[in-house]
Amino acid sequence: MKNRLKVLRAERDWSQADLAERLKVSRQSVNAIETGKYDPSLPLAFKIADLFEMTIEQIFLQD
């Protein structure tokens, strides 16, 4: 599954650590999601969507 997390984060000038702190996960988790090594759970996907004020579909894209 592809995602726009890195772009959205860059638009807000947040580091991976900043985003991780906002989502209450580790920086490694953010890095793994951005690089496609890990798909977040549904609650985490909702948390990400809420944070960026977007829908899940606008952030995560089916391959």
Binding site: M1, V25, G36, K37, Y38, D39
Partner: protein, 143 residues
């Protein structure tokens, strides 16, 4: 002065205790255990135990320890979304499956293979858990 929350302390401790290093130690430990176990020459004589008490004890211990492990695992639920936790948990599954398969292979070919002790199996379990962790670290969790 701002009081430090236990959570930030926890996160600092997690940052210090990197799972990579913990699994390097565990992998090394499993190799050492395998070597030490291989050097043991004195094998304790097998004593036939009565079936019923043995079964009752084993079932009782399994139920009790499963319940304790389940309660303990609930404490980790809040870290379920963490990538490192996912790698540790997935690595543990690899460890269990590998141990079962190694034991099965040894049991089925017991005539031709050197005997395997419980120390060997523990070493295999810890070693394969570590290898599973490093495999997921390298490849990622997604298929």
């Amino acid at each position: 002065m701002e009081k430090q929350s236990p959570k930030s302390l926890w996160y600092r401790m997690c940052r210090w205790l990197k799972p990579d290093w913990i699994f390097v130690v565990l992998l090394t430990g499993s190799i050492v255990l395998l070597i030490l176990s291989g050097q043991k020459t004195d094998v304790a004589p097998l004593v036939a135990a009565p079936l019923f008490p043995k079964l009752a004890l084993l079932i009782g211990a399994t139920v009790i320890f499963s319940a304790i492990a389940t309660l303990g695992a609930r404490l980790d639920r809040k870290h379920l979304d963490d990538y490192m936790f996912q790698m540790v948990a997935n690595g543990a599954v690899i460890g269990i499956i590998t141990t079962l398969l190694v034991n099965m292979v040894w049991e089925s070919g017991s005539g031709n293979l050197p005997p395997i002790s419980k120390d060997d199996l523990i070493a295999v379990m810890i070693g394969s858990w570590s290898l599973g962790y490093f495999f997921y670290r390298w490849r990622g969790i997604n298929p």
